[in-house]
Amino acid sequence: MDSTMSRASSTPSRAPQLQDMRALIASGKRKQVMFAALGLLCTTIALLTLMAAFLDLLIDGLPRLSLDFLTNFPSRRATEAGVLSAWVGSALVMLVTMFAGVPLGIGAAVYLEEYAKKNWITDIIEINVTNLAGVPSIVYGLLALGLFVYQFGFGQSVLSAGLTLALLILPIVIVATREALRAVPGHMREAAYALGATRWQMISGHLLPYSAGGIMTGVIIGMARAIGETAPIITIGALTFIAFLPSSPITSTPPFLNFDWLLAEFTVLPIQMFNWVSRPDKAFQLNAAAAGVILLVMTLAMNACAIYIRYQVRKKIKW
């Protein structure tokens, strides 16, 4: 009697509790699914925007792309204009950036990872590398305008531009190289030392070869970033209309190398594109799109390379 009483009184109160809990679980699950959908939606929006930007550029630019477009100088007539001086300029600037930025970046990274003692100099360098990564790119342009163009007297040249971009990609190369070096386990270092290697022999013979893949990834990503940078190059005063080519770096007569091009005036692809896009004439805007397609293909190909190398390195390494 007593027990049935209590069961009778407890059943109605327990049932809604269970129902409440089921409802709670269901609503929790619902919210969870809704949030996952929201996340997927946001990701899709970001990727669709990327797609739209590509398609917009391709639809406008592809019809203008031809061999003539690559071999013609800019012109007042939109249909005859090309990007010859722009892509040659870009290539030369990249050459300077590579020769200046890559050794500096790798050197700095090797120092910070393998040599630096824990002292205030190291702290200052570390803080500077972190901060430089956050400096707006146009500020590098102002630095170059004051320092390279006027203080050092390099003028508005390929050399100034290349050095500017080298400083700009320095943090990218340093961070990537340090990560690659850190991934090499300590016992590889010990093994080299045990065989009597000096520190530099250990670094040049073992560390750098083992981390080459990771370093390459960083270098390529840095170069891809540099090739698309417009603002700092505009700031040092690259011209927008160049109807000649700098003298070739390789000559047919000894010593086969020539450095006159370093101080030549120049333009680069993104600036040519900017110049065309700011004209009201629709025909020039189509040229801009075509230049953009070339730029985009170059950057994306470089990034794809970097991602591929990184993937391969990750797959291959088994210490």
Binding site: L47, G107, N131, T198, I221, F274, V277, A289, N303
Partner: protein, 315 residues
């Protein structure tokens, strides 16, 4: 060794030689270390050069222009016959574009980060992340073209028929989308660093994935998420090309994104294109503008640093 000194004598030469070898080797090692230190110090010199060049040219600028005028005048026309030097219109343009961009990037970036870190299946994450990285890699001049020839016409055709061809809304939205990956990747990295045990504890007391994500992981990763936001703010106020192409180049004191305006960066690019004589006040004005930009970035970074310290959680 001591037992047969006669054997050692003929080999003395080979013992002495390695010693001198060792000396040159040590010298070479030291030289290489100094060389590498030099490479590392380039970063320090770059910072010193940036600060000193901005300061020197700005001091020359402020010899002609009063600091009070610079900070309070509402017109910026340094290249006109009757020049006025009020930085406020450029600052308002910069802040407006950045605000539009962040209103897109912060919610989207945070949601994508939570989704990729806590919800997405492994394969989705592996596919999505390289594509998001691509969004970071596209040259910004391409996004400028996109804002001018696609986004603004699209906005005009759909929600804002009154929108002028040059405006701050279109570029702001485009910047917002392409800085989203900066937030999502840094924030996701922070979220994935939250120890699994904390999630498991929450699951054990019956939390859903969403509750774990919002009440456990997000608060624990606040420090990293704030770092992501600070990075995004720096990118948004430092972005040049999208604004220079699609926002018009008239400095206007307005916070209305539907209007055309110029930002600090767009002004610098515009003046630099015009080939100003070295040492003129117009030349100095871009350094004063650049200094303002750096101080704004620095301000946000210090604020971010303070926030991170406040919310830092160590496990």
């Amino acid at each position: 060794m001591a037992a047969n000194p006669t054997v050692a004598t003929p080999h003395l030469g080979t013992i002495v030689e390695p010693l001198s070898h060792k000396r040159t080797r040590l010298a070479k090692e030291k030289a290489i270390e100094l060389l590498l230190l030099g490479a590392a110090l380039v970063a320090v010199f770059t910072t010193i050069a940036i600060v000193s060049i901005l300061l020197i040219e700005s001091i020359r600028f402020f010899e002609h222009v009063g600091l009070v005028d610079f900070l309070t005048d509402t017109v910026w026309t340094p290249l006109f016959a009757n020049p006025r030097y009020g930085i406020l219109p450029l600052v308002s343009g910069t802040l407006t574009v950045a605000a539009v961009a962040l209103m897109v990037a912060i919610p989207m970036g945070t949601i994508i980060a939570i989704y990729l870190s806590e919800f997405a299946p492994h394969r989705v994450r592996e596919v999505v992340k390289p594509f998001l990285e691509m969004l970071e890699a596209v040259p910004t001049v391409v996004f400028g073209y996109f804002a001018l020839t696609f986004v603004t016409p699209l906005l005009q055709a759909t929600i804002f028929p009154e929108l002028p061809g040059f405006n701050m809304l279109g570029p702001g939205l485009v910047i917002g989308v392409f800085i989203t990956p900066y937030i999502s990747s840094v924030a996701e990295y922070a979220m994935r660093a939250v120890p699994m045990a904390m999630r498991e504890g929450a699951y054990a007391i019956g939390s859903t994935k969403l509750q774990v994500a919002l009440r456990i992981v997000t608060p624990a990763a606040t420090s990293g998420i704030v770092a992501a936001y600070v990075l995004a703010v720096s990118r948004a106020i430092g972005e040049t090309m999208v604004v220079a192409i699609a926002a018009g180049l008239n400095p206007t004191l307005t916070f209305n994104p539907m209007e055309p305006a110029a930002t600090i960066t767009a002004y610098i690019a515009q003046v630099a294109l015009g080939d100003l004589p070295h040492g003129s006040i117009g030349y100095q004005s871009i350094f004063a503008a650049g200094l303002t930009l750096v101080l704004m970035t620095l301000g946000f970074n210090i604020f971010g640093h303070w926030m991170r310290k406040r919310y830092r959680e160590a496990y």
